[in-house]
Structure formats: structure tokens, C-alpha cells
Amino acid sequence: MRVTFRANGRQVEADDVWEGESLLFMLRERLGLPGSKNACEQGECGSCTVYLDGATVCSCLVAAGQVQGREVRTVEGMADPDTGLDPVQQAFVDAGAVQCGFCTPGLLIQTHALLDRDPQPGDNDIREALSGNLCRCTGYEKIMDAVRLASARRCATPSEATP
């Protein structure tokens, strides 16, 4: 089948999609967007988290055909081509929250969504919001630091809310 949708603000089309394919597979293998990661492909690790019409989903659990006509935003669409990295991305680099980096794309999307709905989350709020995203390298301390840093920076320089 053919699937047509918007990915990171761009109209895209994938042909010959097998009905059993996930959104994750279509993004990675058909559309050249491998940023969303294939760590478990069963909805347990959060590495494949993307925005689907503004809500965060595990793209491994969404059938490719379900996104027909809809809007997907992946980690590749986070950085502004003009202004550079999103503050969440920059905070993860600065805080040392990236080691192997395989969990990072999912954590970035989930953190971005958290800060959009709660710009100054407490520690337990951060832990709750990110509890669906496994990281095996960091022990999460630097990830906590990164989220606090991104929150502080966003609050210091209020910008327009992201869509």
C-alpha cells in the first residue's frame, strides 16, 4: 500500500508498504529517518517515541497505515534549521546525558512534551513522565540534570510554545 503523511513538516510518501509494517519501520527503512530507535519494538523502552498529531506515541506500536494523512514529528524534526538545536537537545549534550545515545531520541521527544505541558516539573514529575523510556548507560542522574537544565533555560528565555 501507499502511505502519505507529513513528517517533520514535509509531505512524504512511502510505496509498497506491507500492511504489517510499523510506523517505526517505515520511518527508518523507507523514509530515511532512522533517528527513532528500534531498541525493543514492543512498546517497552520508549526509544522510538515520536509525536503523532502532537501526542507522544511509541512508533513501533503504530501500524504504518494508521498515519495516513496525519502529522508525525521525529527527533530529526526537533532542531530548528536556523537557530540550531532545540534547548532540550542542547541540555542533553551539555549535562552529559548522552552516552551510547540509543535511548536519547525517545527521551528528547518525551522531555519536550513534558516541558510543553509543565515548564517547571519537580523531580518526581520528571521521573513519572520519563518512566517509559529505558536508558541502560547513564543511571538516569545526568538525564535528570538535563531535564532540569532544559527547564531552567526555557524558563529563563521564554519562547513561543512549540506546536
Partner: protein
């Protein structure tokens, strides 16, 4: 080298960054920006035009005879390009990390659940899956050999590897029966009735450690591309490119120089990528089809596709005087190595030689063995044999403290090794060993506040909302461990580095080229820092790791900063000396007081002499150096005596837990660590390593275990094999000590593994303190705390 159009390949090319910080600073990762943009090319991200998907058929039995394999229907499927069994292998059919005992594809028999029988290449993963379903394999299922008793009684239960085969694999060194390797360590008078009589107090315990999985997030994957010269270019996530090649080439029937490996992005490793997984299969399929072949494991297949941490059964006996001085220790450590040897011999070497922990014990008798069984193969995982022993000896020290009525930290400090202590192997600890100080550091940290029960997310059970404070008891526990750094027992695991200095755009740039596997640890950051420190430049280019340069050894054993970092230092020093020689020749400098700073050659007496750019002009200095650590020797088989380890490293933990004693739920409230790192080359990364390593120890303490029944894996998924989430993981204060090791580059000490040792027993100790239960097995599960089973 052939040119390929591989999507993602641009991110396998060099990365240049400019930064003023050398060693001791915390410059950001050179690959960090690519990683947060989703552009870093992991091994599973690569894509080649016209590529096929490879997949393996895995046995559903732990032990079976293969009666027949019929691939005819599978081959006939549209979209299927090749179906291969062991009969199609052009070269050697066996491979192995330390012992060549593992068939690349099963030959006539199955030795573990999930062993690969056949491989398929097809145009889509679903086509490959369907083709696998069409392969007909007829098995004669045999009773699996899975318990220690069964393994040690081959006359009754049989052999995992027939003795004549096993003797061949190991050049006759194979011990006996189903034992892969054994090691004794005897020191002082050993342990006998006479020695036992010297002790006022004796504690005995039997301990068990479950099978832990590395659970790296990036699944085994890679892309094999057939080259025009008949060779193969393999883009792969691994821990050691050169040892992969050494194992792959003979199976393909190719000389090593026809098998070229490039490191693709690695999504974590933790020991699980020391052995081969899909490498040979992808190469065989590419060789057969003449097309690029990509293999990406699913999470389920990943659980079958790599070795795990050896489960262990240990009996420990400690004797001490009334005032707490240890008199003797007797230990028997049995490690289940599973179907193939993997790293079992070296794991046994570690478990036995480090079995006493960081304690001075005058009389010691130890036996450690690894078994062949029909359980999943076990090999390297962070901590490598020292983790299992640490759980046992630290549990014993707690038990002894109770018996003596002593403070558990004071008891440990009283018996702690220090610089100059002799290990039971006879090896002197000839570098700082601040064990007592590390314990004191975690003890002196302020304790976290008592729980106010206001937010369920901070309680055992968390969002399951299982308690609002009822039945919750707090406990505090301590532990400390000792780990070796680098490969031991006479192994010369040297590292190679190439450093090039040249002027680009008027500015001096250092290029660093090694085959080091960056698996997330931050070696690439440190290499840049070393080049900056030694060459006084800001711009550094890190070349992609590949087999075009000499071996860097494995990214394991906490060794890469020591070994390959040390090689980068040597190569950079050589480049610096060559630059000075150039200056002496050109300008007649005579003094030996030169250094490189801020892009300039500086004399201590005469100040700035010339800029590097002016001195070098359009020349380049390009030098390669090997770094060898000081030699070690094999342990004597009967006594364990020998200068076997390169370096020792120490970490201590204090764990604070809240336990819901009614439901058996544990919340680790805080996990504090103190570690001597010799010299923190990159403090941010060092702390990250300690917290990450501690968290894997937390997982082993309270949740992580591969469950097998009759050799079959019952929980190969992240639904059923749990690793700590951010809600399970507490704040982790870290205290760093920097006592230089005079034998090591910059005085540094390997960092990555030590925190994984003591974290587990510290947490279990805290749970014991909260519950009063003995808890002799990890992971501790709810039923162990509620007495409802297990």
C-alpha cells in the same frame, strides 16, 4: 577500498571539534550533537541500495540431535535469495572468543535454546521470517544437562561437548567432564582444621547470583557488503574490531586482509558484544548472494543472540578472631558457562583471584569452576566474575559483623587492603588502595531525609499506589569491591594509535585514528583531550574506528582509557618529539625545556619560540604507536599464585532503601558511591560511568534475571526481563578520589566496572537491615521478602 553508497555512512566519517580543554576538563562529546539530532549512524540504521535482510532460524530446544534439515520450500519462496546451513560454510565451521568451540551454524546437534540452525537472505524482513517458517528441521529432543549435579556427573547425564572434541578445542587443556575451566587459589596455610582452630568466630553462607543480561539498547546489527576483490566490508557494532575479524575470516575462508571492519554506531555493549552475534551470518549471506546484507535482531532474538553474566552458586566460609581480624576464607564458586566457552576461562580467573575481595586474609583456599551446560552461554558482562564473588564476600562480611556485634563498616575497614598488601595470588598491590577511606567517604555523606509518605512516586510500588506509608521500613547497607583493569594472566592486550599533526586553514589540527570501539563510554572525548594536552592544539579530528589501523584491544575490562588512551598519549608524545626535533634542526634550539601550549612551542626559559603552524608549514607528522601494559603471568593452576593483574580498582557504596515488608516491594532511596579513579581525565564522564555501573548493580539486586527452565529461556523481552527505569533509580551522589597509580598513563585507573560490583551487595545489605531476612540470592524478588515462595 571499494566505494559504497550507504545511507548513514557520512556519519561514520571523521568528527572534528575545537575545544580548549585537555585532560581533567569535561569537554562535551564530539558525537553528542549527531546523537541528539538523530543523525548518528548506529549499526541498525545503515541502509544500502539493493540490500537484503538476513535472519536466523533458531532451535526451540536446549539439547537435541538434528535428524534432518529441509530447506527446499524456503528456497522456493519468492524474494528469498539464499538459505544456508553449516554445509554451505566455505571455511572453518567453528569459531570462538577464547576457545574455538562454537559452530557458526549448528552441526548435527543443538546445545542451547536459540542456537542458530539456518540463515536466510530475503528482500524484506517479513519475507525472511516466512521463509524461516518453511524450513523443516527434525529434532530428536534430548534431556538437557542444566544443573551443577548433572554437569558434574557426565557418566549419568552425558556431555555437552564430547571429551575428545573438548580436548581438541582447548589443546588438551580441557579440565574434565563438563568443566570448561577451573582455578584454585591457595595462600598462607590454606584452610584446614589447624587454621580453623585459629578462629574464634566462623560464618558460612551459600549464595546465588541469577543470570543477568547486558540489555544494551541497540540490538545486534550490521551491514555486510561484498567487495569487488572477493572480500567483505562489514559495518558493525562490536567491542573489538580486530578480534571479530580474527574469528570471521577463517569461517568465510578468506585471509584477514579481505575482511575489513568499520565500527558503526554502538548502542551500548557492557560485555554483550565481546562475542560474535550476527557478524558471520551477515558475511556468509553477502558472500553467497553477492549483495549487501543487513541483519538487525529483534529484542527477543537479542536475548538469544549474545552471552549473559554467569549465574553463580557460591559457598563461603570466613573465620575471624573475636576482635574482628579475618583469619581464613574458604570458597567454592561454581559458574554456569552454558553451551559454549565464550569468556568463561577468564571469568573463572577473575572470580577466583578476586574472590577474597579487598581484604587481607592470611589463609585462603578457593576453587572456582565454570561448567559447560545446556543453558544459555555466558561470558562477559561488566564486572566479569568479580560481581558474583563480591555479592558473596560482602554478604559474608555483613554476617560476620552481626556475629561479632561489630559495625559492618568498621569490620571492613579493620581488614581492608591498602597499598603494599599482598593478594592471595601473591601479587602485591603496588598502587594506592584506599579501601577504608572510600568506605568512610560514603559513610560520612549525610543520609537522605526520612520518607514523609506525601508522594507515592517516592515509595515502593510507586505509581502502582500500593502504600501510603503502611508497612514501609527503611534500611541502610554498605559494600566495597575490588576489580582488575585490563586483560590478565599473561595476555598482552596492547592498543595502537595513530596521531597526525598538520596545519589546516592556518591552524594546527591533531588527527587521532584508532580501532577503539566507542560504545558510549566516551573514549572519543578522552582521545581528543589527550591529543590537546600533549600537542597544545584545540582542533582535533577523530577518525572512524576501523581495521585500517592496528588493534585497540577490547572495550572491556575497564581498559580503554588506560590502554588506547595510553597509546594516543604515546603517539602524541612521539609527534611532539618529532616536532621539537624539526625545530632544533631548523632553529638550533638546545634546551630540553620545550612544551606545546596554545598552538605554540614554548620554552620554559625563553618563552614562545614559534607557532606550530609556522614550524610545520605544509609538512605533516604522522606516527603510530603501540601501548603495552606491564606484563602479567598466568596463575599457577594448583595454587593460583602469580602476578596476574595489571591494575586494581576500588569502589564503595552506601545504599538506602525503603521496603514495603507486606508486599515485598523495594524502593532504593539513595545509592551513594565513592571510587578512586587515579586521575579523572573527564570528570563528567567518570561520574556518568559510576552512576551507570551502579544502576546495573541495582538491577541485579532487585529485578534482573533471565529465567530458564530445563534450559529454555522464559523471559526474552523487556516486558518480562526488567531493567531499572528512571522511577526505580534513586539520586546517586558520587565521591571521587584521585590517587595516582604510578604505573598508569596520567596515573589513571579504569573506571567502568568497579561500581557494578559493590552496588548489588550494598542494596541487599540495606534490604537485610530493613527486613532482618538472610537474603542469600540476587535478584531479591518480592516473594523472598514476604515468604510466599521462591
Amino acid at each position: 577500498m571499494t566505494t559504497h553508497t550507504i545511507r548513514g555512512e557520512k556519519n561514520l566519517q571523521s568528527i572534528t571539534t575545537a575545544h580548549p580543554d585537555g585532560i581533567g576538563g569535561s569537554p562535551l562529546r564530539p558525537d553528542g550533537t549527531l546523537k541528539v539530532k538523530g543523525e548518528f549512524a548506529y549499526s541498525s540504521d545503515l541502509w544500502h541500495e539493493d540490500m537484503l535482510w538476513g535472519m536466523a532460524l533458531r532451535a526451540p530446544h536446549a539439547r537435541a540431535r538434528i535428524l534432518s534439515v529441509d530447506i527446499s520450500e524456503a528456497v522456493a519462496q519468492p524474494g528469498v535469495y539464499a538459505v544456508l546451513t553449516h554445509e554451505d560454510i566455505p571455511g572453518s565451521k567453528l569459531y570462538g572468543l577464547e576457545v574455538v568451540d562454537q559452530p557458526a551454524l549448528a552441526i548435527d546437534q543443538i546445545r542451547y535454546h536459540g542456537e542458530a540452525v539456518a540463515i536466510v537472505a530475503a528482500d524484506h524482513p517479513e519475507t525472511a521470517r516466512r521463509a524461516l517458517a518453511k524450513i523443516k528441521v527434525e529434532y530428536e529432543v534430548l534431556p538437557p544437562i542444566v544443573t551443577e549435579e548433572q554437569c558434574l556427573d557426565p557418566e549419568t547425564h552425558g556431555y555437552v561437548h564430547e571429551p575428545h572434541e573438548a580436548a581438541k578445542y582447548t589443546n588438551g587443556a580441557h579440565a574434565s567432564g563438563n568443566v570448561v575451566h577451573s582455578q584454585k587459589v591457595v595462600s598462607g596455610l590454606g584452610v584446614n582444621d589447624e587454621v580453623r582452630a585459629l578462629a574464634d568466630v566462623v560464618v558460612v553462607g551459600e549464595y546465588e547470583v541469577g543470570m543477568q543480561d547486558q540489555a544494551f539498547l541497540g540490538p545486534e546489527s550490521g551491514l555486510a557488503v561484498p567487495a569487488e576483490d572477493g572480500g567483505i566490508d562489514l559495518y558493525i557494532a562490536t567491542q573489538w574490531l580486530h578480534v571479530d575479524r580474527q574469528q570471521i575470516a577463517p569461517v568465510l575462508g578468506l585471509p584477514e586482509n579481505k575482511v575489513r571492519l568499520t565500527l558503526a554506531g554502538v548502542g551500548g555493549a557492557f560485555g554483550g558484544r565481546e562475542d560474535l552475534s550476527m557478524q558471520i551470518h551477515a558475511c556468509l549471506l553477502a558472500q553467497r548472494t553477492g549483495k549487501p546484507v543487513k541483519i538487525v535482531y529483534s529484542r527477543e532474538e537479542s536475548f538469544f543472540g549474545h552471552v549473559h553474566r554467569h549465574p553463580a552458586k557460591m559457598r563461603y566460609e570466613h573465620g575471624a578472631t573475636r576482635d574482628g581480624k579475618l583469619v581464613y576464607m574458604d570458597a567454592r564458586i561454581v559458574l554456569d558457562g552454558g553451551a559454549y566457552a565464550s569468556a568463561s576461562p577468564a571469568v573463572v580467573g577473575n572470580a577466583s583471584s578476586l574472590s577474597v575481595g579487598p581484604y587481607e586474609i592470611p589463609n585462603v583456599n578457593v576453587l572456582a569452576i565454570a561448567l559447560y551446560s545446556n543453558n544459555p552461554s555466558c561470558g562477559a558482562m561488566r564486572g566479569f566474575g568479580a560481581v558474583q564473588a563480591c555479592f558473596a564476600y560482602e554478604s559474608q562480611l555483613d554476617k560476620l559483623a552481626v556475629e561479632l556485634g561489630m559495625d559492618p563498616v568498621e569490620l571492613r575497614q579493620l581488614n581492608a587492603v591498602s597499598q603494599g598488601s599482598i593478594m592471595p595470588t601473591g601479587q602485591e598491590i603496588d598502587a594506592p588502595a584506599p579501601v577504608a577511606e572510600l568506605l568512610q567517604k560514603v559513610k560520612d555523606l549525610p543520609l537522605p531525609h526520612p520518607n514523609d509518605f506525601q508522594d507515592v512516586r517516592g515509595l515502593p510500588g510507586a505509581l502502582s499506589n500500593t502504600s501510603h506509608g503502611e508497612g514501609i521500613v527503611r534500611g541502610v547497607g554498605y559494600a566495597v569491591g575490588i576489580k582488575n583493569v585490563g586483560f590478565s594472566e599473561g595476555f598482552d592486550d596492547y592498543s595502537t594509535a595513530r596521531v597526525r599533526l598538520e596545519v589546516i586553514g592556518g591552524e594546527p589540527v591533531a588527527m587521532v585514528h584508532t580501532a577503539m570501539a566507542e560504545v558510549g563510554q566516551g573514549g572519543v572525548t578522552v582521545h581528543g583531550q589527550i591529543a590537546r594536552t600533549e600537542l597544545g592544539v584545540e582542533r582535533v579530528t577523530i577518525q572512524p574506528a576501523n581495521t585500517e589501523v592496528g588493534s585497540a584491544g577490547s572495550t572491556s575490562a575497564s581498559r580503554q582509557t588506560y590502554m588506547t588512551g595510553g597509546a594516543v598519549k604515546l603517539a602524541a608524545e612521539a609527534v611532539r618529539n618529532a616536532l621539537f626535533a624539526l625545530g632544533r634542526e631548523r632553529y638550533g634550539w638546545t634546551g630540553n625545556d620545550l612544551s606545546l601550549t596554545g598552538g605554540k612551542v614554548v620554552s620554559a626559559t625563553n618563552g614562545v619560540l614559534v607557532s606550530i603552524a609556522d614550524l610545520l608549514g605544509d609538512q605533516a607528522i604522522d606516527l603510530t604507536r603501540e601501548h603495552h601494559h606491564r606484563p602479567t603471568v598466568a596463575f599457577d593452576k594448583e595454587t593460583g599464585q602469580g602476578f596476574g593483574h595489571v591494575q586494581y580498582t576500588f569502589c564503595a557504596h552506601r545504599a538506602v532503601v525503603d521496603v514495603d515488608v507486606e508486599l515485598g516491594l523495594v524502593k532504593v532511596v539513595e545509592l551513594a558511591a565513592a571510587q578512586d579513579v587515579g586521575k579523572a581525565l573527564n570528570p563528567l564522564s567518570v561520574v556518568g560511568q559510576i552512576q551507570g555501573g551502579s544502576t546495573q548493580g541495582l538491577g541485579l539486586a532487585v529485578m534482573e534475571e533471565i529465567i530458564t527452565r530445563d534450559g529454555k529461556v522464559r523471559n526474552p523481552s523487556f516486558t518480562d526481563y526488567l531493567i531499572p527505569t528512571i522511577l526505580d533509580t534513586p539520586p546517586q551522589p558520587v565521591e571521587i578520589m584521585e590517587l595516582a597509580d604510578p604505573n598508569a598513563p596520567y596515573g589513571l585507573r579504569g573506571v567502568g566496572e568497579a561500581p557494578t560490583l559493590s552496588s548489588t551487595p550494598a542494596i541487599v545489605s540495606a534490604i537485610r537491615a530493613a527486613t532482618g531476612l538472610a537474603l542469600n540470592r540476587v535478584p531479591v524478588r518480592p516473594e523472598h521478602l514476604t515468604g510466599t515462595g521462591g
